[in-house]
Subunit: 486 residues, 2 copies
């Protein structure tokens, strides 16, 4: 049965939560008295649909059902998880919790609050044990971090269940063990924000100069290692103690105005808003959102390729989902579907189609999966043997577009102990859009020359080759360039 989440409070944050749950296959009920809520959430959802699937390398679940409810009572009906993202006013949150717990007292209730401690949220609640902080970061549908903060009154088992649910929607729950105002990350953001206000107010730097000072330097570092690991590396082999001996004394220096809070008056607001307009007023917010999302997708895919940081979260998430994709049966007399591929934003060329090189990537994914299937995968290569591609013929029959879901299937045209002749079909909804005929040679990697494949590999390959010998030869096989279609 489809699982259901309730989102209390729409807007950018609530919309981001709704998108994560929906795109993870959950049904979502939204309560927000703002008549604009469906439009606002719809916009966030559209952004998310163009972004989150670009991070997956296994097929996404079917999207859940989105509904808008007139009352909290209706919205929490049958929900397994409730996320509250209303304005940062404690009395409002308390009122909302009282109403929620009148109808669903036992359901997990996370709050997106960036400032309040869970013990403050729990005050006067009918069932404080299910209430906790689940503080996400914008854009919620792309950034994995969610700070999960319990209080002493929170039931530890509830917190573990909540973390499992957050992982299910692809997030990285950071368990904050001691509650504190603003949790962890926002304390840093607040510190930087204050200092930035001073720099602008005193005319040291404009908003644009400050942004460049961040994104051209330490901002790039912090997307992949945090503060301490970055300094650990900077300290070199002498280690963290050495680094701190150097850096420690700086704390005594007058390098910060943070002892003090700038007066937050209209003049400062106008100064900053004016500089921000001069910096980025030539772009709409929608354009900037798209740029931001595409950049973040790029960063996250880089980290995923390296199984590092946020990329490890994505790989683990894929692994959980992949378990649900069935393995092809080995001896079937049909081409083997070995890969499921979704066309990503970064794969699109200036014609608006998938770039040519990506057809070969799709084919490589297909063949790699096939080689893994016959026991000639990564471990086989590490042990010194591999199949190298000697020759490839690509025939383009259609054009893949953004978001298309493709399959890659393999038909073995011929095989002996050294040669593997395959025909790969990249298809969309069963219709081929490209075919790739390849000749692979089995090599001794160290010697750099062909040699017979291991008998275990041949024992798995040959029954497939025999079964496929009964299949009709594909029309595209054996062509040379420019040959008329038969």
């Amino acid at each position: 049965m489809t699982r259901k989440a309730t989102i209390i409070g729409g807007g950018v944050i609530g919309g981001g939560w709704a998108a994560r749950f929906l795109l993870s296959g959950w049904d979502v009920a939204v309560f927000d008295p703002d008549p604009e809520a469906p439009r606002k959430i719809g916009e966030v959802l559209n952004n998310a649909r163009a972004a989150l699937p670009a991070l997956a390398d296994v097929p996404m679940p079917d999207e859940g059902q989105l509904s808008f409810c007139a009352t909290i009572q209706e919205a929490v009906q049958g929900a397994e998880y409730i996320q509250e993202s209303v304005s940062e006013r404690i009395e409002l949150k308390h009122r909302v919790y009282a109403e929620i717990q009148k109808h669903a007292p036992k359901v997990l209730l996370g709050s997106s609050t960036s400032g309040y401690k869970p013990s403050q949220l729990q005050e006067d609640a009918p069932n404080p044990g299910v209430i906790f902080v689940a503080h996400p970061f914008n854009p919620v549908y792309l950034l994995p971090l969610v700070e999960v903060v319990p209080s002493a009154k929170s039931d530890p088992q509830n917190i573990e269940t909540a973390k499992e649910i957050l992982r299910d929607i692809g997030m990285y729950p950071l368990h904050v063990r001691k509650e504190i105002d603003a949790h962890i990350a926002d304390r840093f953001l607040e510190a930087v924000w204050r200092e930035a206000l001073w720099l602008v107010k005193d005319g040291i730097a404009t908003t644009e100069e400050i942004d460049e000072a961040i994104r051209m330097g330490f901002g790039l570092r912090w997307g992949q290692m945090g503060l301490f690991d970055t300094y650990r590396v900077a300290g070199g082999e002498a280690g963290m103690k050495h680094f701190m001996a150097q850096f420690g004394p700086c704390l005594e220096w007058p390098w910060t105005k943070l002892m003090d809070v700038p007066e937050f008056n209209d003049e400062l607001v106008d100064l900053i808003a004016g500089q921000s307009d001069a910096q980025s007023g030539h772009m709409t917010i929608r354009e900037m959102e798209r740029i931001r999302d595409q950049n973040l997708i790029g960063f996250l895919r880089v980290l995923k390729e390296r199984n590092w940081g946020a990329g490890k979260v994505l790989l683990d998430h894929d692994a959980r989902r992949r378990a649900a994709v069935p393995d092809p049966s080995a001896d079937s007399a049909a081409p083997l579907v070995m890969a499921h591929i979704q066309v990503l934003p970064g794969w699109i060329d200036y014609n608006g189609h998938m770039t040519e090189a990506r057809y070969l990537t799709a084919s490589t994914d297909t063949i790699d999966a096939f080689l893994g299937h016959i026991g000639a995968g990564m471990e086989y290569v590490a042990a010194g043997h591999s199949y190298y591609t000697a020759e490839t013929h690509i025939l383009h029959l259609g054009e893949a577009k953004l978001g298309d879901r493709l399959t890659g299937s393999v038909q073995v045209l011929g095989a002996d102990d050294k040669r593997l002749h395959v025909f790969i079909t990249i298809a969309r909804n069963g219709e081929p859009i490209a075919t790739l005929e390849q000749m692979l040679l089995h090599v001794d990697v160290n010697a750099g020359r062909t040699c017979p494949a291991h008998t275990d590999v041949l024992a798995r390959l040959m029954p497939i080759a025999d079964a496929h010998a009964a299949l009709p030869r594909p029309a595209g096989a054996g062509r040379h360039i420019g040959q008329r279609k038969s």
Copy 2:
């Protein structure tokens, strides 16, 4: 004549500067009394050689000459630029400057200081007008940011010349208009560092939890947009003023301990060093450097693909260098060398060779350059016409490895008003390692069908086709898969 830079003070920062200059074709003379300096700089240089070229899409200049000098007098001889990266002690810097300016009083003298103001550096100097702050960020050979800070005594023309030199080595000089302790970026780092020390000291979070709170969330954002642009987007269409109205009141909240400085004693140092060991002690610093560099290369290439932020700096840098690469002569009876390609770390597969898809990328780069050459480039596509690839035949003749410099050349095998039949050779040192035969069709993009090319395009294409008709037909042309080599 080769330009020369002098590096005073080795170590991680001085070594990074040396690497940037050397890999940009400058000769570099280093002065550092530490007998370990050559080893330390050599290690940084090895890292840089494996990293910086991965950001370039035009050939790098030949590496300059590195020399180590016994005296400052010898090191500054003939230098056009001097960069000082000695310890952060003002009296040491003053002593070094006095010695430098005894022998090279007029040469630009940048300091890597993270804390001192240029006016402090200039005190008692024989020629203060050439002295300024040029504060880089580790790893200096990858991160583009350098804060250039003059004082009132600095000659503005000198500062402009210095910025030009820093651009020449691929950096982004951020001109800090008013001098201030710690410039801009390090004020933020200092603020975050202080807050982090409190969180660790009070047992709220470990170094690892803090690092995750950064790199899983806002750190990813800050690699591509800074503080203000990020909040501008978060504010939505209501704009920056609206965002600030929400955020402003938080400044009154007790969300920071930054009013106060934690006591920096041995206990705190041990606590942090111990947590850092638990977090990352399973990796050597060298391993972490490689991981960091590969991640940064990935991020920077993502931004380069999008011509955004630090990626725009890289594209502009390429454009300056590309101007030096000669255009092929159009009517020569020889295949046209249209692309210069360097094999990047991210292009290597688990066999240690360039991945198959990258041969097609190299070929696409070659053909795109050729299409631009005959007037069928991006603008032609934007106007509604394009050449689509119908078919490709790839023949692998060798294996490209990390760092290899390849050329992509085009031989036109045949052309009419709708068809373009080409043979592309990817070569290393003139030896083909792959050939790609392609049939391209000229299409009306909107109608989605073939049509004759524009007469201007044909007027440039046909003379090349005629000239190439005299060339011998390549051995690999017209093959089908598995055909025996003739």
